[in-house]
């Protein structure tokens, strides 16, 4: 039964989903982590508004993001000449737009809570700017890791935006979530459940890894 379900097409779908998730999480992390750290340390007029806008974007509905990306990439849109609509790249762009505010927001919140103390400590030790930034990233490692894991989970489970910009094209832009949606519509419940289980298993593995690293660094509240 399992070998029947796990054919080449399904494996292709799983691989494509993982590739898309990894790419979009990596790009979003590269943008969102420095942005979150910068947002905490920077002093400028309108900073509060920027933070509120980012928080709003954290909760932006995927279908809306998908629609925006669709309008940008459609043939008559401003980036239509690039021919990206209904491609893997279009799905990654939509995912990056969804994930970056989430990663940035989590890193910013963590940074706002602890970064000042870390910077102060670094200065008392005589650390230069680069050493202070490195220490900050190291000390906020758990939170940054959590932000990345959250982004990964969001990318993995997302369906609305990638359905619009990817088009759910067989062998090209069909991911696990869009396939589950399609299979349910076709009444292929067993395959939908199987893919759902695989999706959950991957999400569980990621969370287990995250938990393993978080446990290693747990501080004691006890005073012996």
């Amino acid at each position: 039964m399992m070998f029947e379900i796990l054919d080449a097409e399904v494996l292709g779908i799983i691989t494509l989903t993982l590739r898309m998730t990894l790419f979009s999480t990596a790009i979003s992390s590269l943008i969102g982590i420095p942005l979150g750290l910068w947002l905490d340390s920077a002093r400028f007029a309108g900073k509060k508004l920027v933070v509120i806008i980012n928080r709003t974007l954290m909760a932006s509905p995927p279908v809306v993001v998908g629609l925006v990306v669709y309008l940008l990439l459609m043939r008559n849109g401003p980036f239509g000449f690039m021919g990206l609509l209904f491609t893997f790249e279009a799905m990654v762009i939509a995912q990056v737009l969804l994930l970056t505010p989430i990663i940035c927001g989590i890193v910013h919140t963590a940074s706002a809570r602890s970064a000042e103390g870390i910077r102060l400590f670094a200065r008392t030790m005589g650390a230069n700017k680069t050493q202070t930034q490195l220490l900050l990233i190291k000390e906020l490692g758990n939170d940054i890791f959590f932000a990345v894991v959250t982004g990964f989970g969001r990318a993995m489970s997302e369906v609305g935006a990638i359905m619009i910009v990817g088009g759910n094209i067989r062998h090209q832009t069909r991911t696990m979530t869009t396939t589950i949606s399609l299979l349910r519509g076709m009444g292929e419940i067993h395959q939908a459940i199987f893919l759902g289980a695989v999706l959950m298993l991957i999400a569980f593995s990621v969370q287990m890894t995250a938990d393993f690293f978080r446990k290693r660094e747990r501080a004691s509240d006890e005073n012996f």
């Binding site: 103390g117 200065r123 008392t124 030790m125 005589g126 190291k138 660094e217 501080a219 004691s220």
Partner: protein
């Protein structure tokens, strides 16, 4: 180090230090009631915050020559040893293993050398932060109530360490403590602060045993000082 006409204003508090001079190699005390501006003054001296006006002449000392130990120390999310050697690492200095072992053993932390430092008890964390601040031999060390979490034996150990270092490798210390016995044993000269200003200053014995300022007299009313001569460092 010379400070003149230094001001720092906050929403509900203003600090004004008209004049303060710290001579290299001496141990100074700074005392005063809660909220009088001791920590702010120390942070200004350390260069951790900027004054609104006034001058601080650090006489050639850079940020790397100055350190400050706080009542609530910050420990890196790493092992005890890596915390201790952090100031050396960022200076590109190879830690001396014998010195590390000696320092940690003295403070009773050698057995925990590979433990996660933020998991230590508050007193142990405090000891580690003091050792860490001293390991790179800063020229100016500001200690802001950093003895407050220590038991008497540990506090005595650090007092001895400071005094012994003064014989071999003298540095300037500015120590803030509410337990005046530390100030009495360590400091030659004391500043008394009240409501953001230095209201009294002088030799330790004059400040502690013959106070003239009414606020200082009131502050010392409940202090229990030993009879031995103050200012071992003098």
């Amino acid at each position: 180090m010379k400070i003149s006409k230094l001001t720092k204003n906050f929403e509900r508090f203003s600090l004004f230090v008209d004049e303060m001079e710290l001579v290299p190699g001496k141990i100074y005390g700074i005392i005063g009631p809660n909220g009088c501006g001791k920590t702010t003054a120390m942070k200004l001296i350390a260069g951790l915050i900027k004054p609104d006006s006034g001058q601080i002449d650090r006489c050639g000392l850079t940020e790397r020559d100055i350190t400050m130990a706080f009542r609530k120390p910050y420990l890196i999310r790493d092992t005890v040893v890596r915390n201790l050697t952090y100031p050396l690492t960022i200076r590109g200095i190879q830690p001396d293993e014998r010195q590390i072992k000696e320092s940690l053993s003295l403070a009773g932390l050698w057995d925990y050398r590979d433990s996660f430092a933020p998991g230590l008890s508050s007193g142990e964390q405090q000891k580690l932060s003091l050792l860490r601040a001293m390991i790179f031999s800063p020229k100016l060390m500001l200690i802001d109530e950093a003895f407050s979490n220590l038991d008497m034996e540990s506090a005595g150990l650090f007092e001895r360490m400071i005094l012994e270092r003064q014989q071999t490798n003298p540095a300037t210390y500015l120590i803030c403590a509410h337990q005046l016995s530390h100030i009495q044993r360590l400091c030659a000269y004391i500043f008394f602060m009240h409501k953001g200003k230095i209201e009294a200053r002088g030799q330790a014995e004059d400040i502690l045993y013959a106070p003239q300022n009414p606020h200082l007299k009131n502050y010392l009313k409940y202090a229990s000082l030993r009879e031995e001569a103050p200012g071992w460092n003098s």
